[in-house]
């Protein structure tokens, strides 16, 4: 049996990689992909803990998280398309209307 801690460590590594990618990249689409990585790391932790507690509730939460991620992807990509129509660019540093 693989210990639960291995899965938790993998989840931590994936989450930190996602956060790092979000900060270091400058195009909106890759930043959005990094958010998906962070959500998936959360899913992995949920399922690992569900197995450790031998309860099914964790898996139900993962189904909800996947649903919310799908809704978020639809709205987020619509917003990215709108931004591209207005600015002809998807660099996050070009979104500076609020900079003053």
């Amino acid at each position: 049996m693989v210990p639960t801690s291995y899965f938790i460590i993998l989840s931590v590594v994936l989450f930190v990689l996602g956060a790092f990618g979000f900060f270091v990249k400058r195009d909106l689409i890759t930043q959005f992909l990094c958010i998906e990585v962070m959500l998936s790391a959360g899913n992995l932790a949920f399922i690992a803990f569900a197995k450790a507690a031998s309860a099914l509730d964790g898996q139900i939460y993962v189904i909800f998280i996947i649903t919310v991620a799908a809704a978020e992807a639809a709205v987020g990509l619509a917003i990215i398309l709108l931004v591209y129509k207005q600015k002809k660019s998807i660099k996050s540093e070009d979104m500076n209307l609020l900079k003053g």
């Binding site: 930190v16 509730d57 799908a70 809704a71 639809a74 619509a78 709108l82």
Partner: protein, 167 residues
């Protein structure tokens, strides 16, 4: 055997995410992310969650990533995104990532002790999951359907062409 599978999948998954961050082409990034999601689904299978593994493949690796690929196709990025101008942002990201990993390790210290043995549980079959979903979690489930409708309508309203705005 399980250990070998775990390490193989974990290495491929982390490698795919690193490749996604390094890659400058968004389409390649999306494809690397699909690889990472497939590995994650296999890991879910290792954790006695076959139904969630299938959902992960169908919804994440299938539907969501196809949406991403469509948007990448619509956005014309032939000139690509140039190299980093502000070097200090990369350094700051390393610092933030380091702080985050230390913080998470501290928060999860109790679970990282090797004494924590994984309990033997029955796999989460679709029957059990469905029973739980429609009894204990019925209200969250129904609220999720409202959320989906709202997101769908919102996305369509956002990208709709305004009256008389034609090309």
């Amino acid at each position: 055997m399980a250990h070998f599978l775990f390490f193989l999948l974990a290495i491929v998954c982390v490698g795919a995410v690193v490749a996604m961050i390094i890659s400058r082409n968004q389409a390649y990034s999306a494809l690397f992310l699909i690889l990472a999601f497939v590995c994650l689904a296999a890991l879910f299978g290792l954790l006695d969650a076959p139904f969630v593994a299938v959902i992960q493949i169908i919804v994440y690796a299938g539907a969501i990533m196809v949406l991403f690929i469509f948007v990448i196709m619509m956005i014309d990025l032939r000139e690509g995104i140039g190299p980093e101008k502000k070097r200090w942002i990369a350094g700051l990201s390393f610092v933030i990532a380091g702080v985050l990993i230390v913080e998470l390790i501290f928060a999860l210290k109790g679970f990282l002790s090797p004494a924590q043995a994984a309990a033997e549980g029955s796999p989460g079959s679709p029957t059990d999951l469905g029973r739980l979903l429609f009894t204990k979690y019925l209200y969250p489930f129904e609220i999720t359907s409202v959320l989906i409708i709202a997101a769908l309508v919102g996305a369509m309203i956002l990208v709709k062409k305004k009256e008389g705005e034609g090309e």
